[in-house]
Amino acid sequence: MTTDRAVDDLRAEIRAWLAANLTGDFARLVGTGGPGSEHEDFDLRREWERRLGEGRWIGVGWPVEHGGRGASLPAQVAFHEEYARAGAPARVNHMGEQLLGPTIIEFGTVEQQERFLPPILRGEELWCQGYSEPDAGSDLAGVRTRAVMRDGRWHVTGQKVWTSLAQFADWCFVLARTDPGQERHRGLSYLLVPMRQEGVEVRPIVQLTGTSEFNEVFFDDAVAEEIVGAPGDGWRVALGTLAYERGASTLGQQIGFRRELDAVFAAARENGAIDDPDVRDRLTDAWIGLELLRDQAVASLAADGDPARGSISKLLWSHWHRDLGELAVDVLGAQGALAVSDPYELSAAQRLFLFSRADTIYAGASEIQRTIIAERLLGLPRGGGR
């Protein structure tokens, strides 16, 4: 892959910065956090986010005029690769940096940009996403959370679900229905709701891993003073968020995948499963699958940013990861049926196995991704009933 000077320079700079800063107290953060382990050392990772902010490592891809470095896609990839290579901890404000920030840059007012972007860049304000509801998951246009204008402010009532890190967030960007006379994707608005107020209650959801990364968030006449875009424009703004190319971070994601794959190989060597021809074939398939993820991501960087192509990436990596989880416990054999200890401490392989069942569901379930590929990429006619 050809690289240019700017990419090489950024790579060298972040590598050096990480070597200098992922030390002292922060050293124990190596390898912490991530899906299934969001509770790990959260407070210290919050501090780490502030340290990243001091080094101007938040918003690397944001335009320079909004406080970012304006890094090209290949440069962002280099940043994510080096970050992952150093084993630096999972970030605590993915929602703010990758979703809300770019949304405010694209759709927000100047005042909103000045108010909300700098605290994200300093690692001071954390965000969570208020989209899904119990009755509106894949079918996001079915949201029922309501917001009414009263005394010049929006009052939000309703329930959101699957909200990552809501228990730690300062703010939530909420898709709510502001015009009850309209249906589906019409009459929705994109509101910014402060989390630390009386009308907001967060309840953790326990997942099948026994841990709680996700939450329910109940809004009971909660107050929101900020709306992004016009009332009724929420669907367009929200979809703009969803469309942001996550391609840049997937190449960094693959470094984590490589680590997980290496661990499965190591486990198979350790307990002799690697001598089983069937296990070898599956290990080979996992290895080849990761090569394909890389080839596909590399090719995507060169192609245009058609969101429908992101659906292919998502299908490929989520199914690969889920298959790896199955292989990881299969390698353990019967030992894989025993937990590490009570009250439900699981091994890394078991956590990977269980948590990867969510990979094909969140960020657009596989069924939805296939429909997007079929309709938008292949041009098949829209399905019946829609």
């Binding site: 074939d281 080979t284 290895w287 080849i288 292949l378 019946g384």
Partner: protein, 363 residues
């Protein structure tokens, strides 16, 4: 088109595609004159010597260019010896030997077509352990043995042959003539002519590179070429199927509105996308050590994508997909035949594992 490509490649692709579409009916008529005519045009269009540098009278293109051409050939299952000739020419140049390069130049000047004669029986590993023997003879060698399943041997002026030389598999160029008997075989896939080539003391030129290299490199290039062909063919299958699902109405609506069918098409598009990316990696790494892994990997994955696409094409076309008249069976047979000739994807994946050293004893 799933990936954006350069304007030059898009132009090349369009030119090849329309040329092949015009040529096909003539070619299928099978008359010797028609075959000669279409090959002359292929040569004239500069589609043959892409892997041969200009100083050797070639087109001075690269594997990325050849990949585009071969994808289009695969897309219409064009029965012209382009894959075979391109691979032979590329392999000859890649040996780096004076004899190899001279042979490539001669073939380009003559506008000759070529065939790769490596396989001997139904086993895959004889590609690396030929039983055909080369005996040293005045300035060259005499080859004796039988090569089977040789693609496009019937029209070939020249054969690239693997033979055992001083106990090693090495590369030789054999010209059609004395000591060479070509017997056409009936085939399952009638878009791909296969022959048995019997060599009886046929005079040959040794074209191996340093340390006798060449056979494995030629096979890896062949894998890459076959991957390109499979990607093109799979893409055409998917396009045909999508069009059919848009046109065909049952239960008062186009078949393409049924989610189950939409999703199966999406899965085909996904595996094709990954295969295209793997092909890109194989093309980029040709000439480097990484190609030894990238080539069989690309071929395995492309072949899988093609096999599923071809099978689904029959299935999703319903009854007409089962007729002789419809093209679906031709793609299905090409996919099956390629797998039978060159090894199942499971064997190729094991080759990838071996070459990548996945199960080498831990150091």
């Amino acid at each position: 088109m799933l990936f954006a490509e350069s304007a030059e490649h898009a132009e090349l692709r369009a030119m090849v595609s329309s040329f092949l579409a015009e040529q096909l009916p003539e070619r299928l008529s099978g008359s010797a004159d028609a075959l000669d005519r279409s090959w002359s045009q292929v040569v004239e269009l500069g589609l043959v010597g892409l892997l041969v540098p200009e100083e050797l009278d070639g087109q001075g293109g690269d594997l990325a260019d050849a990949s585009v051409v071969l994808q289009e050939q695969g897309a219409c299952l064009a029965p012209i010896p382009l894959l075979a000739t391109t691979t032979v020419l590329g392999a000859l140049v890649a040996t780096g030997s004076a004899a190899g390069r001279a042979a490539a130049a001669e073939l380009c000047r003559r506008g000759a077509s070529a065939a790769l004669a490596f396989a001997e029986d139904a086993r895959l590993d004889d590609l690396r352990h030929p039983r055909t023997v080369a005996r040293a003879e005045e300035g060259g060698a005499a080859l004796t043995g039988t090569k089977r399943y040789v693609i496009d041997a019937g029209t070939a002026d020249v054969f690239l042959v693997s033979a055992s030389w001083e106990g090693r598999p090495e590369l030789f160029v054999v010209r059609r003539g004395a000591g060479v008997e070509v017997v056409a075989e009936p085939t399952l896939d009638q878009t791909r002519p296969l022959s048995t080539v019997v060599l009886d003391g046929a005079w040959a030129e040794r074209v191996s590179g340093p340390d006798g290299r060449g056979v494995e490199d030629a096979v890896d290039l062949l894998y890459t070429a076959l991957a390109a062909e499979a990607v093109g063919a799979a893409g055409r299958c998917l396009a045909m199927t999508v069009q059919h699902l848009r046109d065909r109405v049952q239960f008062g609506r186009p078949l393409g509105t049924f989610q189950a069918l939409q999703h199966r098409c999406a899965d085909l598009a996904t595996s094709l996308d990954a295969a295209t990316a793997a092909l890109g990696n194989a093309v980029r790494t040709w000439g480097t050590p990484a190609h030894r892994v990238a080539a069989p990997l690309a071929f395995a994955v492309a072949q899988e994508a093609f096999t599923s696409a071809a099978a689904e094409t029959i299935q999703m076309h319903g009854g007409i997909g089962f007729t002789w008249e419809h093209d679906a069976h031709r793609y299905f047979k090409r996919a099956a035949s390629t797998e039978l000739l060159f090894g199942s994807s499971r064997r190729l994946r094991r080759l990838v594992a071996e070459r990548a050293g996945l199960f080498a004893p831990a150091v």
